[in-house]
Symmetry: C2
Subunit: 393 residues, 2 copies
C-alpha cells in the first residue's frame, strides 16, 4: 500500500466513474467514436476566438525579452491592470491591480483562496448539486464541506444556508452559472444572501466569506446578465478562468479577484500570493497571461451553445424528460425517469450515450448532460434518449 490512505480511498471512491469512462472508451473503440454520443465531459468543442491566434502570433513573432521568465507570483502587472480595468467596468467597485492574482485556472484560484483562509476543521458551506472537485479542494487544506440543498429550481435555499452556519463556518462557496444545473443566481437572491451573511458575520464577530466560482459567466443565454457578487456582498472573492469563454481549458489560465472593499485586504492578498507560490503553481503560465490581457472582452460565439441547449432541451422534453431550461453554462440536468440515476446512466450507455449520474454532483435522481459537443452528436443522440425513456414506461 504505497500511496497514502487518503489517496487510496479517493481512488477507490472514484473507481466507479473511472469504470464508466473506460466503458465509454471501449464503446468508442468498438462502435467508432462517431457512433458514441459522449456528453460526459465539460470540454468545450468550440475553438478559441480568431483573435486569440492573432495575439499569440504577435507575442511570438515579436517577443519581449524574458517573456517566458518568472514574473511576480501574483502575475504581470500589465495583466493584472487589464483585469482590474475590466472588472471596474463590469462591476460598481473600482479595482486595482493588487486586487487580482493570476492563477493556474479557476482550480488553482480556488485552492489559493482556500489555503489562505482555512484552518484545519474550518467549514465551507456548499449548495448542492455542485462540482464535486470542491470536496478535494477543501480537503487539500483540511477544510470540511457542509452541503446544503437548493430549491426545486436549484435556487439558493437561504434557510438551509442559515441553519448550516456554525462557529466553524469560514465561507460559502457558490458557482454561478452553475455546473451541473446551469442555474444563474438572481440579483434579488444574492442581496438576500448578502443580508444573511452580513447578519451572521456580525454575530460571529468576523466575516463569513462568499467565494463565487464563475468560469461560465459569459456562457449565458437569452440576453441574461449574471448579477455581480462584488456588488452584492463586500466580503467576497470571485474566481474564474478562460477555459470556457475562450475555450482554453488545457492552458490553465485564470484569476482570483478580491472585492476591493474586503476587510483585511492586505493580509488576504499577501496570503494568496504566498499560497500561489507554495502550492507549487508559482505563477499562472506566462504566455497565456500576456494573451488574455488583451482578450478580456472576447468570447467564443455563445449563440452556438444556446442553439445546442435549445436543440437538446426541446428534444428531451418532447420525448418526456423533465428538465429545467438552464440560463447558462453548457449542461442540462434532467430528472432521471427512474430513481436510480446510476442505473439510468447505465441504460443510456447501452444506446452509446455517455452521461454522468447526478449523484456524482450531490444531485441524485438527475443526470448531467454536457452539450458542449457538435450539433450532430446532439441530433443523432435524440432517438436513443427517446428509446431509453420509452422502454421504462
Amino acid at each position: 500500500m504505497p500511496a497514502s490512505k487518503k489517496i487510496q480511498e479517493s481512488m477507490e471512491k472514484s473507481s466507479f466513474i473511472r469504470k464508466m469512462f473506460e466503458e465509454g472508451h471501449a464503446r468508442k473503440a468498438k462502435y467508432g467514436a462517431e457512433n458514441v454520443f459522449d456528453f460526459s465531459l465539460g470540454n468545450p468543442n468550440l475553438e478559441p476566438p480568431a483573435k486569440f491566434k492573432e495575439v499569440l502570433m504577435g507575442l511570438i513573432n515579436d517577443p519581449d525579452p524574458g517573456q517566458h521568465a518568472y514574473m511576480p507570483n501574483a502575475g504581470y502587472l500589465e495583466t493584472r491592470s487589464a483585469v482590474a480595468a475590466y472588472l471596474s467596468k463590469h462591476n460598481r467597485e473600482s479595482f486595482a491591480p493588487d486586487d487580482i492574482v493570476m492563477t493556474v485556472g479557476a482550480g488553482g484560484a480556488l485552492n489559493v483562496i482556500l489555503k489562505t483562509l482555512l484552518d484545519p476543521g474550518d467549514e465551507v458551506i456548499i449548495p448542492a448539486p455542485y462540482f464535486v472537485e470542491y470536496n478535494f479542494y477543501l480537503d487539500n487544506h483540511q477544510g470540511v464541506p457542509r452541503v446544503v440543498g437548493t430549491g426545486p429550481d436549484f435556487s439558493l435555499d437561504l434557510d438551509a444556508i442559515g441553519e448550516a452556519i456554525t462557529a466553524k463556518t469560514k465561507a460559502l462557496l457558490i458557482n454561478t452559472p452553475n455546473n451541473p444545473t446551469g442555474k444563474v443566481y438572481s440579483e434579488k437572491k444574492l442581496e438576500m444572501l448578502a443580508q444573511l451573511l452580513t447578519d451572521r458575520s456580525r454575530k460571529l464577530g468576523r466575516p463569513i466569506y462568499l467565494i463565487s466560482d464563475e468560469p461560465y459567466r459569459k456562457i449565458v443565454y437569452d440576453g441574461l446578465n449574471v448579477p455581480s457578487i462584488f456588488d452584492a456582498y463586500r466580503e467576497s472573492f470571485v474566481v474564474t478562468s478562460f477555459s470556457k469563454d475562450l475555450s482554453l481549458p488545457g492552458e490553465r489560465i485564470g484569476y482570483a479577484a478580491l472585492n476591493p472593499e474586503i476587510s483585511d485586504k492586505e493580509e488576504l492578498r499577501a496570503g494568496m500570493v504566498l499560497c500561489n507560490r507554495i502550492l507549487g503553481y508559482v505563477n499562472a503560465p506566462a504566455l497565456m497571461q500576456r494573451s488574455v490581457s488583451v482578450l478580456l472582452e472576447e468570447s467564443v460565439d455563445v449563440s452556438q451553445y444556446q442553439k445546442k441547449r435549445d436543440m437538446l432541451w426541446e428534444g428531451l422534453v418532447a420525448c418526456g424528460y423533465e428538465c429545467r431550461k438552464p440560463e447558462g453554462a453548457f449542461y442540462l440536468f434532467p430528472k432521471s425517469p427512474i430513481e436510480d440515476d446510476v442505473a439510468f446512466v447505465a441504460g443510456l450507455q447501452e444506446e452509446n450515450i455517455l452521461t454522468v449520474p447526478g449523484s456524482g454532483f450531490y444531485g441524485p435522481g438527475h443526470i448531467r448532460i454536457a452539450y458542449c459537443v457538435d450539433d450532430r452528436t446532439i441530433e443523432n443522440s435524440l432517438p436513443g434518449f427517446e428509446r431509453v425513456i420509452k422502454s421504462l414506461s
Copy 2:
C-alpha cells in the same frame, strides 16, 4: 486575523526576505536598475533556444483541432511517449508513456508525488543546504522534513541519512545539481545511498522512496554527466522542468517520471494522476506540452553559464572569498567571511549587491549568488564584492 494561522506564520517568517526584496527594489528605483547587481533570483537570463520559437509558430500557424482543450490529466500521450523515449535513451531502463506524468513545473511534480505518498506525520529526509520551498511542499500534505547535514564539499552524508531514518520515513528528497550549492552527486555515492536505502527498506518491510529534483540536469560544466538516479535505485521518482534548460520558468511546464521498475507502479501512477487533478493543476499547460515534445534534446547554450561561473568564481576567489567551484546549476555558495551571513548580505546590499543568506537554505555561514545574469553585472559587481570583504579583515 482573516488568514489561517499557518499562512500568517509563514508570512511572518518570510517577512525578512520580503523586506530584503523590497530594499533591493528601492535601491533599483534610487540608483537605476543597471547600477544594482541583482544575484538574488534563479531566473535565467538566457532566452529560450531559437527552435522553441519555430516550434511554437508551427503549432499556432497550423493548429490541431482542440489543441487548447483538456487532455487526460497525465498529459498528451504524444508528449509522454516522447519523454519516455528520451529517458529510455539516457538511462538504462526502458520507459513507457505511463511512467510519465506531465506537470505544472517541477514544483507541481513534487507536490503531486508528495500528496500521493504522504500520510500525516510521514517524514521526508532532506540533505541541507536545500531549496526551502521543499518545507512548504511537505507541509501542504502534512509531511515533516528531517533535515540532515552534508559533507564539507556538500556531498551526501550517508551516516547522517542512516541515522535519520525512522519508522515514519517515507522518502529521501535530493536535488542534483543542487540549489544552492551546485553540487552534483557522484555515481559512487548514489550507489552507496541505494545500498543504504535498500537495506533499510528491507528492515522496514516497505520501500523508502528516493525523489530526485533535477531541473538543472543539463546545466553542468566541464563535460560532466549527471549520474542517473533511476540506474542507481529502483524505488525512485525523478521530477524536472523545462524552466532552466529551455529558459521557460514562467510557462510552468515539467514532469514527474516513475522508475519503470518501481514497486506497486500501477497504484502510484494512478495516485499521481489523481493528485495532478485534485490539487487544482488539472494538467500541464497544453501548448507547452506540445512544444517540449520536440525539444527534449535542446537546451540553452550552457557554455554561457560556464563562462559566468568561471568569471564570478575566479573574481571572488582572487579577492579572498572561500568558495567551492560548483559542477552545475547557476549558483555560487561561498562562505560568508563573517559568521552572520544575514549581516554579510546586508553589507553587500550597501554596495548594491543583492544576494540571499545561506541560512535561508539551511546553510548558515554562506551566501547564495545566482549568476544567471548578464556578464556585465558579474564584471561590475566584483569591485563591490572586494570592498566588502576587505572592509571586514
